[in-house]
């Protein structure tokens, strides 16, 4: 059984981060109980192309009703790697985002910017044999939210990633290089480590752009690595 290397919690935000006020009443206070992996952690659901549809990775077309959505056309792409730098093929990557005006297609979003009738704002794909993912969308807009008196989220896309085990489950957000709101963001500011924050910023990738058509950004995702057990103490009598 391959076990996952214990999570380095210093790379992540703590549970309670006063800069992000909602976490103060929702983040657990007590220490997490550390478990060594059992089958329940090293196994997990694995998805295939039969689980998703052909337009699921194209947010420009997957909710187009009367035309295409408004906004900067971009390709988001990168690789899913594990902690040893190995590509992770065949895993599900899901994404959701606001439209170009910063409005989500969600019944609880009341921001004044309009819904785009041609933009759903969600999609998904499966990584290829080299661990690559790619999807097409429009760049999301920044938007205000209730936290401090004048907080604005930088443009961002939410990502949900599966690995091979349920213990690798990860949800995060990625940002766009050069956005002046990044340095002021309360959500990104929950991560104490500057280098860790920078790893959530996608880089402009002109070489992957489609000339005269679509810009591109690149962002790699790293999941927890696993190790083969080198030496194991086995208890007697079981």
């Amino acid at each position: 059984m391959n076990e996952f290397i214990p999570r380095d919690r210093d790379q992540h935000p703590p549970a309670v981060t006063p800069i992000y006020k909602t976490s103060v009443l929702r983040g657990p206070h007590r220490p997490l109980i550390s478990l060594q992996n059992s089958l329940s952690e090293v196994t997990g659901p694995v998805f295939g192309h039969g689980d998703i549809g052909p337009l699921d990775n194209d947010l420009i077309l997957n909710y187009a009703k009367t035309g295409q959505p408004i906004g900067e056309r971009i390709i988001m792409h990168g690789r899913v790697l594990d902690g040893s730098g190995r590509p992770v093929p065949g895993v599900l990557v899901e994404f959701w985002q606001a439209n170009a005006g910063g409005r989500y297609r969600h019944r609880n979003d009341t921001y004044v910017a309009p819904i785009d009738p041609n933009f759903g704002g969600c999609g998904r794909t499966i990584t290829d044999a080299e661990g690559r993912y790619a999807f097409r969308t429009v760049k999301p807009g920044p938007y205000p939210y209730r936290n401090r008196g004048n907080d604005w989220r930088p443009a961002h896309i939410h990502f949900s990633v599966f690995g091979t085990g349920f213990a690798q489950r990860l949800i995060t957000q990625n940002y766009f290089e050069g956005d002046p709101l990044i340095a002021r963001d309360s959500i990104l500011g929950t991560i104490p480590d500057q280098a860790a924050r920078e790893r959530l910023v996608a880089k402009l990738d002109l070489d992957a752009a489609v000339p005269l058509d679509t810009l591109a950004y690149r962002w790699d995702i790293v999941l927890r690595g696993s190790r083969s057990t080198l030496f194991e103490n086995k208890l007697e009598g079981n």
Partner: protein
């Protein structure tokens, strides 16, 4: 794109909150629209999956005791024989589901089969029947891992190697769903407070 450390390892991508609109990406029908031909995780089982049919449900409470009404819960479990299946079996069992807490009541519910006992780590006793839960929401900075055990499995629970590493017996109770009726189990999750649920670093 990222720089490995001196031993060649890459640091894990940091977590960020799933935010208030997690439903759009993962359960878009709850966000208020229908986009995918196949909504993943609507049920962990198929119509013909063998095993005892059960319903698990509960609410998630914040530090003031108010229900969290915008959370997403994912579940992962073995089949009735105690086997995990990464891809669906012929009878439609995969053992993975996801659902949102209700925007008004805060209630979440999953209809499934009761899992069997799974082997423990090398050399450990079998684990008691349990379902792994993973909870994300606005205000939760990194997904919370916990387990649901069954209140009518007292003997199995007493020897479960995971429950036993929880030092305070009273805290073990935060993971044990009470049986309200045959096939109906309720587990409330407390993010903070006197009855704070045990969350695991898995």
């Amino acid at each position: 794109m990222f720089t490995p450390n001196a031993l060649g390892y890459l640091a894990e991508t940091p977590s960020q909150t799933a935010g208030p609109y997690v439903h759009i990406g993962l359960i878009p029908k709850q966000a208020g629209f229908d986009i995918f031909s196949n909504n993943l995780g609507e049920s962990p089982i198929g119509a013909d999956t063998p095993g005892e049919r059960i319903r698990i449900e509960g609410r998630i409470f914040d530090g003031t005791g108010a229900p969290v009404r915008d959370a997403l819960v994912e579940s992962w479990q073995a089949d009735a024989e105690g086997r995990y299946h990464a891809t669906p079996t012929a009878d439609g069992f995969r053992g993975w589901a996801r659902t949102g807490t209700d925007f008004e009541s805060g209630l979440w519910a999953i209809e499934t089969v009761k899992p069997g006992r799974v082997p423990g780590r090398h050399g450990h006793k079998r684990m008691a029947p349990h379902i792994s839960l993973w909870i994300v929401a606005r205000g939760i900075n990194i997904g919370l891992s916990t387990r649901l055990y069954f209140g009518d499995e007292e003997a199995a629970n007493a020897e479960d190697p995971v429950l036993r590493i929880i030092e305070q017996p009273a805290r073990r109770q935060t993971l044990i769903a009470r049986r309200e009726a045959p096939g109906h189990y309720v587990l409330d999750i407390h993010l903070q407070g006197e009855n704070e649920t045990v969350f695991f670093d898995i």
